[in-house]
Symmetry: C2
Subunit: 474 residues, 2 copies
Amino acid sequence: MSHDCSFLTDVVPEDRVSFGDAARDSHAADWAADEAGTGVTPDAVVFPESTADVSAVLEAANDRGVPVTPYAAGTSLEGNAVPEYAGISLDMNRMNSVLAVRPDDFQIDVQPGVMGDEIDDAVASEGLFFPPLPSSGDISTIGGMIANDASGMQTVKYGEIADWVLELEAVLADGSVVEAGSKAVKTSSGYNLKDILIGSEGTLGVVTRATLELEGIPQQIRGGRAIFPTLDDAAEAVFDAVRSGVDVAKIELVDGISATMANDYLGTDLPDAPMVFLEFHANHGIGEEIDFCRSIFESHDVDRFEMADEEEMDELWQARRELAFALQTWDPERGPIHPGDITVPISKLPEVIRYAKDLGEEHDIVVPCFGHAGDGNVHYTAMVDRSDPDELAAGQEIYKKVVEKAIEMGGTCTGEHGVGRGKREYLELEHGADSVEAMRNLKRALDPRDTLNPGKIFPETATGERVQLEADDD
Amino acid sequence: MSHDCSFLTDVVPEDRVSFGDAARDSHAADWAADEAGTGVTPDAVVFPESTADVSAVLEAANDRGVPVTPYAAGTSLEGNAVPEYAGISLDMNRMNSVLAVRPDDFQIDVQPGVMGDEIDDAVASEGLFFPPLPSSGDISTIGGMIANDASGMQTVKYGEIADWVLELEAVLADGSVVEAGSKAVKTSSGYNLKDILIGSEGTLGVVTRATLELEGIPQQIRGGRAIFPTLDDAAEAVFDAVRSGVDVAKIELVDGISATMANDYLGTDLPDAPMVFLEFHANHGIGEEIDFCRSIFESHDVDRFEMADEEEMDELWQARRELAFALQTWDPERGPIHPGDITVPISKLPEVIRYAKDLGEEHDIVVPCFGHAGDGNVHYTAMVDRSDPDELAAGQEIYKKVVEKAIEMGGTCTGEHGVGRGKREYLELEHGADSVEAMRNLKRALDPRDTLNPGKIFPETATGERVQLEADDD
């Protein structure tokens, strides 16, 4: 599985290549570092500093049949960015400049290694912000977000990353450099290369520059929380609010056990009860909108509906953001089976949460549920003792059944973390054989030698063979 | 160029096939019926009534090397839907059912032949509407809008068609049926087949079902108009309003000559002056938003800024919608050279309009300009006497130069009408050779025999050869 990568120092300066164990080992797993998040150690790590570097590496690797797996922050959690077949890990973190801000056009040009919060920092003085950042915006790169079509807490109001990317520069497997999209806010010119690159998890191209759209910071921002007697009440309340058209910028569901875990991890004193965290954005009438939401929540037996000041809200959002870490440390004997997410049509949200919780009760396994509920998005896991094979198997069964239920409901096996290695087995169930074959044809068209991030997304790559590898001498 | 299509009655019932001159001739040109909008007469017209019909026709045609060009309302105006190489015109108008409305999820499932206004009619009783309809929504099908990634007056607030399509069923060139997208509002599962089909103008697949997202009808809707001393003031005012974040649902620019033409055509009494038509949508504070817009317009010397009642607004919007027809009939000796559009970053809007007008003055040719100015979109043409070769050439030169200017400004050669036949020559200028080659690779991947709508979008198809046609006996 290892590849001769000595050619790299011929195509880029030596200080951009590492063959050392430390660099290579640190690119073999993502933040999850579980079954899905652990790949194999690459043969070399390249740190390109320009589009020309990326192009040179890809052209040379493609000629030699050497896999190239783009890597950035490693926060996608499905193993999207770790090598399946060794070769080169292409670490994009040195390409981390903000290239231009055009406030008159609500646009910013960035390199892929720019962190999410750096985008907001670069445009705040213009009264602008980048709405679709994921919760991990301060530890994730924009290139990774684009590769995964990430989304976040504010997606319920503003949409996902794809909705805010106007134009991309990307390097294809053969080293050719394409421009996709337009700096005009709309276009119907040619095929939409931009949106086939977005979400392709580095299997079709490597983004080297992005023009993003921005939004004006709203004049009114208010946050709060609502506490419900049961998780079902909370889920029904979220559904009803969305169905009724409440204009909410964040609407996050956290179940009682997740709140307990957050308290233990952060020392907060959230009630150990199902909660909905809220944020409203408006230029006019935010009070009326909050009252509208309150009236809907009251019809679902809300115990408390409290608007909070900024400091209190910071604490709430921190608790929400760090839930993934809280899960890891809560029980010394039991850890989360996998940090996954699914998304369903909003009308199915209460049902899919009930389904997950019922499965947990049936197997006597804790199943924390939380997420961007206004999008129908649920993050969930199963807390298991990995040294107990029966418990591990039961946890895996629960995890799998919830994914299958989401697909059966017309939803998706992954709302925002991509397919990577972790969700490959569900691709055909969700999309059907003909659609997966069409996807594979697109991969063959843009990367016929399977150079870019081989082994990801498509199911049969799990067999250990690169999908479309041609002979090296063709 | 003609193809033997007698096989058709073997694959679909006879009442769904026509070889008659009337049917064939009516599918040879679109509404523009000019150079771009006139193709060749197809050998047969098929009126499929189901996905199975579409699949059977495509599979059989693909096997035989017979081109298939999907047709619906013919309102795209760049020749997108007319045959370049005869073969089959696939008329989608019989597949015109609303299949399901799911108000709780803000979703509707439709067949491709459903007209735009029928979508609004089907969901109005639920308090919902479909925001991105083009101005021609009452004479255009949703399938055509998807094929073109159309957009309209409300795109400035709500986005384009692509932003409101959740899931598609489409038949590929070989007859296989794919599902693309998800009924969940977000997904990062697999490649985005949906957005590569949207805007592909029937060259990659034929949409047979779409799940669309809907929006709640706003509680406050108010319209009005603003009259400016010069077109430059009007364009600068629109730019400033957008840059300042005015929350406007429609913001349409109409130049003085276009207003005159509308008056002549409709008998209205619009001032013969540069105007901006406006509509605001809100649930709270619409008055404040209108005042905000007014204050910005006043800083650009607006002569009058008037809110109108519903009846007055109906008249204004009718004038705006029918401008394309007004242009056709205004001058008995001169007609529009082509009904095209370009889109630029909003900061370039005033400059591109000045550029077009200056070119008109230089050549003493009337150049009407209007459009969805809040998106940086400009519809323009040149009024020429086609019997005068010099005037015709001058008009064509003006038309071409404005397209090139838009591209130079980082904009697009076509904001909403697609490439079709009319904009093929600009594809490479806009996207670059490597990007066009990547697009061509996608076409080869999904339609290797160039069965679907051959001759469109890509530049060299204008030479009279199908791009990727393989031998019939392979």
